[in-house]
């Protein structure tokens, strides 16, 4: 990647960060948890103003046709701020799915609406991903079954460990697309959603580390900031290490998916394994460093702690992703 390209991406991440830093995202997330989605949806609309929701939508359908690397930057920043709503679905999986089916006018028609931020979207991909996250507030819910995509209606919902997230069982109501194109598009959508989830976890892990450092600098015990104790330092250094080395895997998988490389599935799973492990380490360390106050819903910290827990298995388990990496290594004699 060229350095000017990298600078552009950093500037884009910076603009999303500024927008959300000024927008009280955690208050919106708390209201989302109470089934009041108005503030959260308003935030999504403001993000649409930056182009974030248009990145994965092709230009001829009203989007920006950006690379998936840019989509991952938006997802990472969404995770960084614990943005409520179906991030991996609406920013990545659904636009990728519909882009792959854009030959069908009824499918293509949704793309400009997604790009403009007129609605947020979610999907279920059973059997691996049986629930549609946040189908309640979503304006578009899809169900992918084998080689068929349905417009779906939300049925029963389940509370998630993340209070600002609900899991919906959905029923297909109206056929949107059918045939081999669906299989291909759904496969690509699943990879994009998985990687978006990894990026979101990376962002959440980064926030958890920042909050932990901030707390460790301020909280004093035994007459010293607890961040001066080596046990705390080394634990947080390990979090920094895990996040630092997960990031290039996410960027690489985005490039592989973008280029339709044969290694895309392997690289996506490698990124998901590393990002989930890093975010999990960040969450455990954050809870431990905060102590009892971290174990409450009074502190905003819980919004990130529970989101990491929810996302860890949302797009495939760690065991499943390791198995995919191993399958690629078993098949490929010259794998690196």
């Amino acid at each position: 990647m060229s350095l000017s390209r990298q600078a552009e991406q950093e500037a884009f991440a910076g603009s999303l960060h500024s927008l959300m830093s000024a927008a009280d995202v955690t208050a919106a997330a708390r209201r989302w948890a109470d089934q009041d989605h108005s503030a959260g949806l308003a935030l999504w609309l403001r993000l649409a103003g930056t182009g974030a929701t248009a990145l994965a939508v092709p230009e001829k359908h009203g989007g920006l046709g950006a690379s998936l690397a840019d989509v991952m930057i938006a997802c990472e920043e969404a995770g960084h701020h614990s943005l409520p709503g179906p991030v991996a679905e609406s920013l990545a999986a659904v636009p990728v799915l519909l882009s792959g089916l854009a030959a069908e006018p009824s499918a293509a028609a949704w793309l400009p609406l997604l790009a403009a931020g007129d609605l947020i979207a979610t999907l279920a991909l059973p059997p691996q991903r049986p629930y549609a996250a946040d189908a309640g507030p979503a304006g578009l819910t899809l169900l992918v079954q084998d080689d068929t995509v349905w417009l779906a209606a939300p049925g029963i919902s389940h509370r998630s460990v993340d209070p600002a997230r609900r899991l919906w069982e959905v029923d297909g109501r109206e056929l949107l697309a059918h045939g081999p194109a669906v299989t291909a598009a759904a496969g690509r959508a699943a990879e994009a959603g998985t990687l978006a989830c990894a990026a979101q976890l990376l962002g959440a892990g980064r926030a958890l580390l920042e909050l932990s450092v901030q707390h460790a600098r301020q909280r004093a015990q035994f007459g010293r900031p607890i961040g001066s104790f080596q046990a705390v330092k080394h634990r947080l250094a390990d979090v920094a290490l895990a996040l630092e080395f997960a990031r290039p895997l996410v960027a690489e998988a985005a490039a592989a998916l973008n280029g339709n490389r044969a290694t895309a599935a392997r690289d996506t799973s490698a990124a998901k394994v590393a990002a989930t492990d890093a975010a999990h380490l960040a969450a455990r360390a954050a809870l431990q460093v905060h102590g009892a106050i971290g174990y409450t819903q009074e502190l905003d910290l819980h919004l990130w702690l529970t989101k990491v827990q929810a996302l860890a298995n949302a797009w495939g388990s760690q065991a499943g992703h390791r198995a995919r990496v191993l399958a690629a290594l078993a098949a490929d004699e010259a794998s690196a």
């Binding site: 080596q230 290490l241 794998s335």
Partner: protein
Amino acid sequence: MSEEPEPAAGTFRAEARDWLRAHVPAGPQPSVDTAEGFEWHRAWERELAAARLSVVSWPAAYGGRDVSLLDWLAFEDEYYAAAAPVRVGQNGIFLLGPTLLGHGSSEQQARLLPPMARADEIWAQAWSEPDAGSDLAAIRARAERADGGWLLSGTKTWSSRAAFADKAFGLFRCDPAADVDPATARHRGLIYLMFSLRADGVTVRPIRQLGGGTGFAEIFLDEVFVPDADVIGEPGDGWRIAMSTAGHERGLSLRSPGRFTAAAERLTGLWRQASGPAGTAAADRVADAWIAARAYRLHTYATAARLAAGGTLGAEASLGKVFWSELDVALHETALDLLGPQAEIAGLDGPDGRWLGGYLFALAGPIYAGTNEIQRTVIAERLLGLPR
């Protein structure tokens, strides 16, 4: 670069690959820790140098090819993929060499770099002392002013390659006034200099390491004369110069990703061959080690691209040092687990015989070049901003 981790075979990479395939000795390679093995490796270095492949990133005037950092990484990839011999000259070419290029005089560069590139002079490190390990600034070995130079006295230890090397470089205390108040002044008054291991007053005692080899030694110095020409930089400026060498050691130049990528490939090969319960029990560790090796590779290439564009590597080097050293242990531990009852056999025939020795070597990684505990503290204080 990060868009494409497997660069298309460019001319330099292709040349390096072809040359290595044609020249890397087939069959077992002797230990570098015997007199004969050391000379075998010196001969290999000379073969590399004759092909101008021993110091590819150096200026052409000193035996290099002026290649970019990215091409250097490509060379390293190919070197390890070819299972080429241990670099017996690495203390010199990867640590002292860059220090001389950064801080040495042009006279020193012209005099010392070419024989270093040709392995006519092989260098040992002389940093640690019996009472100065992680706390390097606690060194006590002295350099006292003499006519036209300095007289070295004291003890250096854990000096890599010193048992058979020709020369050594390290830090000495040169200003007695500067350590009156050690708490404030101990980083001052240090001098960075080079000396011959064959000089009068030098006694070298090889030390048997965990694996039985004598990879390092203790160096006793008794009024060893060093001419002014062999001081790097100004007397008193040694700490700053040494830290730049330490940065090289922790960062890119000591452990290029090729080493771990190649080990991860060998590990996955071993895992593919392994059948039965042992194969499945270690599978997740194989996956994690492979993922980490790839992460290190991608991270290093991104760092190299940043450096090539004029960026600098500071405390971030500590991230890499902890990561590669733990990765190296994990790769080898997993391989030994797959080998099962054969894992403990020293000198196992065939390519699998490299895992045990490699593991013992890997175990030193979290200790040398600044222990991982020191590195984690650097990460916490200098990158995260936690209080001292």
